[in-house]
Amino acid sequence: MRVRRPDLPSLVGGLVIAGLGTVLLLDQSDAIDLRFGTFAPIALAAMGAILVAVGLSRRA
């Protein structure tokens, strides 16, 4: 049986966005204190991961 390959950008984008949402939820519940010093690198890394996934999916 042939297994369908997952759509890489959707997979990576979904994981990254769910991760971001979790960080935001932790901040809202005061479990962590989010500041730009931590949020900016996280957001940039998230965007970078999505771009890499889109690029890789085009090459595949």
Partner: protein
């Protein structure tokens, strides 16, 4: 004995009769250099944005290059041009037309370059959300760019909506929506993918994230609020505004000796505390993104924490202000500053002088 071939005539540059958009210059150049005239036309349009060079050259070609002879007609005899007159003509053309064309070229570039940038951004966004690069005819490319710009605008709206929702206390719900969007994307990856959701979900996450990181609280209304208490009894324990300009003017306030505590909370905008010169100011401020302007001191950026605790002079008055600004500026001054005047006034020589130790 070899047959003698007739001497080949030199190639001549003509303006094309059949392949022309305006005067047949690009068609003629294409034929002469054996390249597609479309390339010549694209280069000419591109050079328009570099001071109108191509427009000037086009006019020169139009004036100096003859039109190709009609079918069956003998080639025109070489024109005995007066070289000096030709050079003078081109010189005059450059002198008179050059500045005008440069100005026109710059004006066209001022419109066309941002437009080209917007189209490129639209294409990039559409590539990100659909995986389709620019392909097909001009109509297809324009359609992709328009769709990309549409998605980008929708993302901007979602960013602002997420920002306001989180600022007004809906941060938890927004974070849950972000997680749900992420999970939906992961699930959709195994059934074909739903890339269109990536950017909107990211925009929402960034909007909520900015509010969380800056500590923006938009409760307290929007607009300009100015408070001028007459005495210490009129002072509130806290001055709060969601977004806008918050001004607390203590210059006419009768303040008691010793410490007068004050708290200013602003989500987004400018918080200004005006104090008389005989009052010492101690301050602690937290700014998520923006700056502090405390008399002669200023500092700005992200996650700005500021604290100055000078002691008041003996039997002196001291205002102890605790400020929390999400995004914007916190200013403590003796006088209002002109909005557009960022030069230092006389305060630079007279900063917080009512304190015993600054």
């Amino acid at each position: 004995m070899e047959a003698q071939t007739p001497p080949q005539e030199p190639r001549r540059l003509y303006r094309s009769r059949g392949d022309r958009m305006i005067g047949g210059v690009a068609g003629g150049l294409g034929r002469y250099f054996k390249i597609d005239p479309v390339i010549v036309r694209i280069a000419a349009v591109a050079l328009l944005f570099f001071g109108g060079v191509s427009a000037l050259a086009y006019v020169a070609f139009l004036l100096l290059v003859p039109e190709e002879p009609r079918e069956g007609a003998p080639p025109p005899p070489p024109v005995d041009r007066n070289k000096a007159a030709t050079i003078l003509g081109i010189g005059a053309l450059i002198l008179i037309g050059g500045p005008i064309l440069i100005a026109l070229g710059l004006a066209a570039a001022a419109v066309a370059l941002p437009l080209a940038f917007i189209v490129l951004v639209g294409l990039l966004v559409w590539w990100l959300v659909s995986g389709e690069g620019p392909a097909g005819g001009a109509g297809d490319i324009a359609k992709s760019a328009a769709l990309g710009i549409g998605v980008l605008l929708a993302c901007c709206v979602i960013f602002v909506a997420g920002f306001w929702a989180a600022g007004l206390g809906g941060g938890t719900a927004a974070a849950i929506v972000v997680i749900a969007a992420g999970v939906t994307l992961v699930v959709s990856a195994f059934v074909g993918g739903f890339r269109l959701l990536i950017l909107p979900a990211l925009a929402l996450a960034l909007g909520v994230g900015c509010v969380s990181a800056a500590g923006v609280d938009l409760h307290g209304g929007v607009g300009e609020r100015e408070y001028t208490p007459a005495s210490a009894g009129d002072l509130r324990s806290e001055y709060r505004l969601g977004a806008g300009q918050l001004v607390v003017d203590l210059r006419q306030t009768r303040l008691p000796e010793g410490d007068t505590p004050l708290r200013m909370e602003l989500g987004l905008g400018d918080a200004l505390l005006l104090v008389p010169r005989d009052v010492c100011v101690a301050s602690k401020a937290t700014i998520g993104a923006g700056g502090v302007d405390f008399f002669d001191y200023n500092n700005g950026g992200l996650d700005v924490d500021f604290e100055r605790r000078p002691a008041a002079a003996e039997n002196g008055k001291r205002v102890v202000v605790d400020a929390d600004v999400g995004m914007g500026a916190f200013e403590v001054r003796h006088n209002r500053r002109d909005r557009f005047d960022h030069r230092r006034g006389d305060e630079e020589q007279d900063p917080n002088t009512a304190c015993a130790s600054a």
